[in-house]
Symmetry: C2
Subunit: 211 residues, 2 copies
DNA sequence: TTTTCGGCGAACCGATCTGTCTATTTTTCT
DNA sequence: AGAAAAATAGACAGATCGGTTCGCCGAAAA
């Protein structure tokens, strides 16, 4: 309804936001792709290395030659998945021309495309933090890095908008993003992105009106 | 800062929002409490039944007499944890006197108390959905029920406020709640509840001003 | 051609997993 | 007190876990 207001290029036939659907043909690439798919769909702990090598079509020894342990593979998957996702996400956003406000709101249109993918399994980092709640797993560090990337981008846009407290506003938008992801994942309903977008509009209005 | 504006009774010395800290002394109760603690802190798949019975101080046979399988125990834990949490949560909110708007905003103050608990491990249902992304596990049904309880309560307050679209507004508040939970869990920072509260205020203002 | 080397399949290791069973002790009800 | 029910410790089974090892293969480099 208010989506055509923001011009976001339509998703290409192959939206490569996940490494799980664009594996390079090397053994290592196939392993990471297979592991990403299984980890994100069945959980990290619930996925055994045998299932991973079976899906990757490699030998177990090959896997342990590239990744000394399963935890190393988990870390590699999160690193690669995060890089691929951010490349896709910020790439889409970089095609949006207009003021920073439009770019921030476009975030939620891109999110909706993400949610609408039939293979959408939530945010790997949110899921990883949920599963490795306790313990200092490398997954948490990867999640921290990912969130920092997002916050940095958001803050840059907000500074460009010349608003009073870019840090707090970036936190607000981040809460909206997280909430939209979780709600869409739970209900299998991509339209939560638009719900979050309206909240973001409301927030940006309220902090911009005092010019 | 804007917290004293809403009067929420301070948390009692023992805030019994989790069954994991208020076990009844029966074998079944101890099992559910121990399982809740371990499931929520280490993950469902990563927690073995041996660890559960060890923490509960029961025999393994006793566990399997009460719960035919580990999945049944998971389902029982989510059911009990959800009921305990909702009793605590809505109990706190019922002590808030004032119009519906104040009651909705108080949600986020209660959430902040929840986040501030040193044993806070995120929302068990969000974590369960993250871990059982694929598959028709009973955990998803429990999560659906939980979210429906929340949405029903929110909608009742919004109808009392006589706003135009209570369903969409309830979805909005739910997104804020989910986002606050995930952000607070990730950053170990309870103040995300206040960030979400400001967004909720902004939203309620925008839909109420057109009287 | 010969060497090299990453990948392959498969067996194997010890540990842990869910779930079962038995035999004994404790609790509870009448 | 006596019967019935419940809980106990612990061994056990079969499967799977993460991880290792070994010998073979095919392609590429020498």
């Amino acid at each position: 309804m208010n989506k055509p207001a923001t011009i976001v290029p339509p998703s290409e036939p192959d939206q490569e936001w996940s490494i799980a659907v664009s594996p390079d043909d090397s053994a290592r690439g196939r392993l990471v792709a297979a592991a990403a798919h299984l980890f994100c769909n069945r959980g990290f702990a619930a996925t055994g290395v045998d299932a991973i090598v079976a899906r990757a079509g490699t030998a177990k020894a090959t896997m342990y030659k590239h990744f000394p342990s399963k935890d190393d593979l988990i870390a590699a998957v999160l690193k690669a998945e995060g890089e691929a996702w951010r490349k896709w996400f910020f790439g889409r956003l970089s095609l949006v021309d207009g003021p920073a406000r439009i770019r921030i709101l476009a975030v939620f249109d891109v999110l909706e495309d993400w949610f609408a993918d039939p293979g959408f399994y939530g945010c790997p980092f949110i899921n990883a933090v949920a599963e490795f709640e306790t313990g200092d797993h490398a997954a948490r560090a990867a999640a921290d890095l990912h969130k920092e990337h997002l916050l940095t981008w958001l803050k840059a846009q907000l500074i460009e908008m010349d608003i009073a407290d870019p840090n707090e506003s970036a936190r607000s938008i981040a809460v909206l993003i997280d909430g939209a992801i979780v709600a869409a994942q739970h209900a299998h309903d991509p339209s939560f992105a638009q719900t979050a977008k309206r909240l973001a509009q409301c927030h940006l209005d309220s902090i911009s009106q005092s010019s």
